[in-house]
């Protein structure tokens, strides 16, 4: 009598390798310490407030020390990607 295997081997998908690659990229991104730090920063209001104070203070320091470089109204800013750009993946 023929026996049917309880867990028949699944046929290998023609794009299995690509799926594995994509999973690795997604996983790598989630485990990236930089990405985790940004997420932590964005979820922490006191940290964001402290950052604003630091930015203002740093702006004054830059203005005092490098008056020639200082442009009125300019501020030292955290560098954030503009909307529409990707996180640093590629």
């Amino acid at each position: 009598m023929d026996q049917l295997p309880l867990f028949p081997e699944l046929p290998v998908l023609p794009y299995a390798e690509a799926l594995r690659d994509v999973d690795e990229i997604a996983q790598g991104f989630q485990n990236d310490r930089g990405v985790q730090l940004i997420a932590e920063f964005q979820s922490c209001k006191p940290l964001q407030h402290a950052s604003e104070i630091f930015i203002k203070a740093a702006s004054h320091v830059v203005a005092d020390r490098f008056p020639r470089l200082f442009v009125e109204g300019a501020q030292v800013r955290l560098i954030e990607p503009p909307p529409g750009t990707l996180p640093p993946l590629l």
């Binding site: 794009y15 390798e17 690659d21 991104f29 909307p83 529409g84 750009t85 590629l90």
Partner: protein, 308 residues
């Protein structure tokens, strides 16, 4: 159409881009070979997938037709404040300047065969074909302007309406009715298939046939809300009777209207990047629209440019 590969706009994070890449594979839209060709980069892969689908349907020269671009994006308005959703992305096709063509001579030729033929052709090509997806400026815009002026009912406006009306040929009059498909094809088959007129009439019939199954793209409240603050679409094509007709003014008005704020895209195909079936359907729809673009380009290549 795919001019600048790095201009894909993603508001969402890499995991979502990866989720879309997986759905493209699972939905059978893109292949392992395309993944390899994209050097295992998800963004390039998505680009290859969209390009592959559109070229398969519209031919390798699809990117040359009209002034159009096609992208996959996570937000309809990148300057908008709407919160992005993980289960929503869009294929967007859009342009920012119309191809201005003179069709008057062909309309005149058609009208000689049957006074209702120009209107029937226009309905097939514009109303039920290319114009279903892309903003076309033509005599219908002038007719709308006339209606607005007449509603105002003041002396000066009435004079202006009268003057605009005089510029529109009788065969495009508001009271004209289109021919049946049978009558249209009878005229078409009576012509030598080598003539430009026969080719144009046949293409309009084909464009209508190809565009019909694409169906209306349904936008939900979330998408409608995103579009609420956006302006009108940029026209992609304008059809003129002659070089100095009132359609020209309508083109300027449509472009100005689009420039008032962020313009709404011409084609918006929403999909859920986490759902392979939804991705397959959206990319399939993009392919069908590519076919309409390619056929419309064949037709418009036979028309002279305005001022030419």
């Amino acid at each position: 159409m795919f001019g600048v590969e790095k201009e894909y706009a993603y508001q969402d994070s890499t995991p979502l881009v990866c989720a879309l890449a997986k759905s493209l594979l699972r939905g059978g839209v893109a292949t392992q070979e395309q993944w390899d060709a994209a050097k295992k980069r998800p963004l390039w892969f998505i680009h290859h997938a969209l390009r592959g689908v559109m070229e398969a349907a519209g031919g390798k020269t699809i990117h040359n037709h009209f002034v159009l671009g096609a992208i996959v994006t996570g937000a309809l308005d990148v300057y908008g404040a709407a919160e992005l959703r993980e289960d929503r992305m869009y294929i967007v096709m859009d342009g920012d300047q119309p191809t201005m063509l003179r069709i008057g001579e062909f309309y005149e030729e058609m009208a000689k065969l049957h006074e209702r033929l120009p209107l029937t052709f226009w309905q097939k090509f514009v109303c039920r074909g290319f114009g279903r997806f892309f903003r076309v400026v033509d005599h219908a815009d002038v007719q709308q302007q006339i209606e607005c002026l007449e509603e105002m009912g003041e002396g000066e406006e009435m004079e202006q309406a009268k003057s605009l009306k005089a510029d529109l040929p009788a065969y495009m009059g508001a009271r004209m009715k289109p021919l049946s498909d049978r009558a249209y094809r009878q005229i078409l088959y009576s012509l030598s298939p080598r003539t430009k007129l026969a080719k144009i009439l046949a293409l309009a019939d084909e464009i209508e046939r190809v565009a019909l199954p694409v169906g209306r793209i349904q936008l939900d409240d979330y998408d409608e809300e995103a579009l609420y603050d956006m302006g009108g679409c940029y026209p992609v094509l304008s059809l003129h009777f002659h070089n100095t007709d009132p359609v020209r003014g309508a083109v300027d008005e449509a472009v100005n209207n689009a420039m008032q704020s962020t313009a709404s895209p011409n084609v918006i195909i929403p999909f859920n990047p986490l759902d392979a079936e939804s991705v397959r359907e959206a990319f399939g729809r993009a392919g069908a629209i590519a076919k309409v673009i390619a056929l419309s380009a064949q037709l418009t290549y036979m028309l002279p440019y305005v001022d030419e």
